[in-house]
């Protein structure tokens, strides 16, 4: 074997052996999935309730990434010797988790490429029961802006879409076709102006006049 081949073998194989460290790593934080929910009956799990415990003296600012995709909330603050129960929400139905499919939930340290904890497994199978707890919400906007995936905006006047808000000078019709019929309530968070809302089957139509819309919150029924 040539010298170069020996060098390559060593520098590839030796670091690769460090993957076995996964068997010896015991994270300082602890987390457990309490339940999976299908809010709005999209036939996928889009809300996961997780309990995270922090037995250390440090405060952690965590970001939840599920199967390589960022989920809400934006940050989870975990104080020393405290625990939080958090509803982690899919920002969009396309990244919700199917029944019986694998998931890896990684908690990264905010604004870094370093993680401190992960939980993984397979999403449960079986009949998904309708949600009875109305406090769950699926928020269909955020930093994406209201014109995020799926929102159609028909307008007469000036419409400016900015991060997290849409400013309407004049009138606009904002439409969204959801993946399911809307049974619960819908709230449009806005400031000033006039906002009217109508729902037919799977469609939400928002009439807006001279206002700034921040978010559209759909409550599970």
């Amino acid at each position: 074997m040539e010298k170069f081949e020996v060098v390559l073998m060593l520098v590839v194989i030796i670091p690769s052996l460090f993957t076995f460290s996964i068997f010896f790593y015991h994270p300082q934080l602890h987390a457990k999935v309490l339940d999976f929910y299908d809010i709005g009956e999209i036939n996928k799990y889009n809300v996961i309730t997780i309990c995270i415990q922090n037995p250390t003296n440090k405060t952690y600012v965590l970001v939840p990434i599920i199967n390589s995709h960022r989920w809400y909330p934006n940050i989870i603050i975990l104080k020393p010797h405290d625990y939080v129960i958090v509803n982690v929400t899919a920002p969009d139905p396309t990244v919700a988790i199917s029944q019986n499919s694998p998931y890896v939930i990684t908690f990264y340290l905010y604004n870094t490429q370093t993680a401190v904890l992960s939980i993984s497994g397979f999403a449960p199978t079986g009949t998904i029961y309708p949600i009875v707890n109305p406090s769950f919400t699926v928020i269909y906007n955020s930093s994406y802006g209201v014109s995020e995936y799926g929102w159609q905006i028909l307008y007469n006047g000036n419409v400016t879409v900015q991060k997290g808000k849409i400013i309407i000078n004049g009138t606009a019709l904002i439409e969204q076709t959801l993946y399911y019929p809307v049974n619960g309530s819908i709230m449009v968070v806005h400031s000033g102006g006039e906002v009217k809302l109508s729902i037919y089957d799977n469609n939400i139509v928002i009439y807006a006049k001279n206002t700034t819309i921040f978010s559209v919150i759909i409550n599970g029924s």
Binding site: F4, V7, V63, R70, T94, Y108, Q113, T114, S118, Y149
Partner: protein, 349 residues
């Protein structure tokens, strides 16, 4: 015996390349693409056994027509890279410097499906930095979309390799680096543009470093190849100048602190995206990301130091992807070129 084996491999992989190309169209949900896309698959499979150049040429011609029809009938935005490059090209056409703007707006303008958006851990939630060199958005600004840029450069590379009687090795690339098939069919990324130019660099020793420089001006992959190759050249300074010329010329209007940070160091905090050593991070091990960078750089330095075979410079950079933080995905760029280099040893200009 060796020639016969080489010949069999070249027909076999070219057939698989066409199959990969045709299959990429079949997933587009356009019924009118079915006949021609299926013909590409069928001709590709046939050419493995009926070794006639006309089969390869006609199958690629049919694939090109199918791609043109696909472009003309409209395609959705399928990746975040596509949306970001399109947005940057519009900023460029408006006379703005894309490196100074947040790319987050691209997502609301182009309605990118969330499942193809790269996860970040920063406040912006979505990728917001333009990380590609300038030729990426300049080419798209000129030709309107990524699909057209990819198809034109692929046709150019195919024609050149056909004239050198080596079209089989180019077609095999679509199998060896599957992202090329999707780029040709639906223009999701600019890998095919960067690859086709690097492919031409293998053929043409005289223009090699200039071509590698152009390829690296689209996506940064070819930089690693050029560094490994230069070691074996006599006129090092001249080759370095040739390589850096395209990047320097196209970068002048955009030079800024943000440009250097985004194109050269790629500092955006993205989450792990696939299968590589960094799965350890995805599984929660608190390994700082600089460890991955150190491993990549060390491995590359050792390759540079110890490699004494020039022809391996094309494929060896693939190895450092084992330790890439983001994913393993793009290592096939180098392996496809390594295959071409091995097949081309007697056919260079």
């Amino acid at each position: 015996m060796e020639e016969k084996l080489k010949d069999s491999i070249s027909w076999f992989l070219a057939g698989l390349g066409l199959t990969s190309l045709g299959t990429a169209f079949l997933g587009d949900g356009k019924p009118y693409l079915l006949p021609t896309a299926f013909l590409v698959v069928a001709l590709g499979m046939l050419s493995i056994f009926v070794r006639q150049r006309i089969l390869i040429v006609s199958a690629f011609a049919i694939a090109t027509i199918t791609a043109v029809v696909n472009i003309m009938t409209g395609l959705p935005i399928l990746t975040d890279e596509e949306a970001i490059i399109l947005y940057a090209s519009h900023l460029f056409l408006d006379g703005k410097n894309p490196y100074l703007y947040s790319m987050a707006k691209a997502f609301s303008i182009y309605h990118v499906p969330y499942n193809v958006v790269t996860g970040t851990t920063s406040n912006s939630f979505l990728p917001s930095v333009y990380i590609y060199p300038p030729l990426s958005f300049i080419s798209v600004a000129v030709l309107h979309n990524l699909e057209t840029v990819n198809v034109i450069t692929a046709v150019l590379a195919f024609t050149y390799s056909f004239l050198k009687r080596r079209e089989n090795v180019f077609i095999a690339s679509f199998f060896l680096f599957p992202a090329l098939s999707y780029d040709f069919a639906t223009g999701q990324e600019l890998n095919l543009f960067a690859y086709s130019i690097a492919f031409l660099a293998i053929f043409n020793e005289r223009l090699r470093y200039l071509l590698l420089g152009i390829s690296a001006d689209v996506k940064q992959f070819a930089i690693l190849i050029a560094i490994l190759l230069i070691k074996f050249e006599n006129q090092k300074l001249r080759k370095i100048t040739e390589f850096t010329l395209p990047l320097l010329l196209s970068s002048i209007p955009f030079i800024s602190k943000q440009y250097l940070a985004s194109v050269i160091t790629i500092t955006q905090p993205v989450a792990n995206q696939g299968i590589s050593f960094s799965l350890l991070t995805a599984f929660g091990l608190p390994i700082p990301s600089f460890v991955y960078t150190v491993l990549e750089v060390s491995l590359f330095a050792l390759i540079l130091l110890y490699n004494n075979r020039k022809e391996l410079a094309w494929g060896l950079p693939a190895l450092i992807w084992i330790f890439s933080f983001r994913d393993l995905g793009y290592f096939t760029f180098y392996f496809a070129l390594q295959y071409v280099e091995w097949m081309m040893e007697d056919g260079k200009v």
